[in-house]
Point group: C2
Chain length 201, copies 2
């Protein structure tokens, strides 16, 4: 099921788009990752833009699914948000991608909202806003304040999502491994303290 060419293309595309951005990747490069030609890719997706759209839709849908989870719905809002954001934490070496891609898309949204009709993340962001506003003390926060909080968490996660080589380049060697394992709990704490300080009216 998951080793379909189409599926493998989506995975490869997500990784490359996350690492280099939409303009930094050619469809030929994505296709060559599987040893096929770019025309095979176009056969499956029609255009580069559509492929990109599907990659982002996948991510957005994953979170919508998570949000609809009955078990999670019964949790406290803070706990639910922790679990929500935990989905963005890189668990494996190749799972760094979703968060980076989200960050990129948020940076590009300005241009996209202007030129194209495809602004893929509105569902995802609306979901986040709603979840933040369920937190005690945040009920009357504006959507922007809720989003600003979410952005902070994104920023934090993204930092940890920076892949190994970079950390080694910027920081020392010992420091790099140090926080990888401990990041999950640390992010939970971060979300807790952040939500414990709702914006002033």
């Amino acid at each position: 099921m998951s080793d379909t060419t189409r599926e493998r293309l989506l995975v490869a595309a997500r990784g490359l788009f996350a690492e280099r951005g939409f303009d930094g990747v050619s469809i030929a490069l994505i296709a060559s990752e599987l040893g096929i030609t770019k025309q095979a890719l176009l056969h499956h997706f029609g255009s580069k833009e559509k492929l990109y759209g599907e990659v982002l839709k996948r991510i957005s849908d994953e979170f919508a699914e998570l949000r609809a989870d009955r078990v999670m719905a019964e949790w406290q809002p803070v706990r639910a948000l922790q679990s929500y954001f935990a989905k963005l934490i890189p668990t494996g070496p190749d799972q760094t991608q979703s968060c980076r891609l989200l960050m990129r898309e948020l940076l590009d949204n300005h241009r996209r909202a202007e030129t194209a009709q495809n602004w893929y993340l509105s569902d995802f962001l609306e979901g986040l806003i709603a979840m933040v506003q369920r937190v005690p003390g945040w009920e009357s926060a504006t959507r922007m304040q809720a989003l600003a909080f979410a952005y902070q968490i994104f920023g934090s996660i993204n930092y940890f999502a920076v892949s190994g080589p970079t950390r080694l380049a910027i920081l020392g060697k010992g420091e790099a491994a140090e926080l990888n394992a401990a990041f999950g709990p640390q992010l939970d704490t971060l979300i807790e303290t952040g939500l414990a300080n709702p914006p002033a009216q």
Copy 2:
């Protein structure tokens, strides 16, 4: 002084790179912003990569200058950080750029650190780390923890740096104008509360 062609090119390049990313901008586009040809641009900067490097060096230097400011050095660490980050807040409609460009560069640092010898932001980041570690309670924080905090602030600023059209697209109309003016003080509060919660040992 500031209306030299070279200077105007740097400004135009910063804006376009911030908005579309390195790969999303052609040197011909940047040059056409001033009504000149791309060859005139190449005459001044030699290559696209060098132009990009100068744009980033400018930003990095601005912050180094700010850090070296004697007046600021006498401030409390928290106050100094507030002033430091305040430099990233978009003050005018065309001043949205530095923060967005920084965010992009932080996303791309992985690739840059790998392939190129030009990782332009290390000074800037080292400065940030040092300033965070001067804050009471953060002296023993690791460099990574300090950077993670900085990333959160970046995220928050970047959200507000998203230009008007997008906010209108995502959110309602009234909400967009609402926080623009009030953001300065709000960011100060954010930094304060963030720094008041240093990471656990």
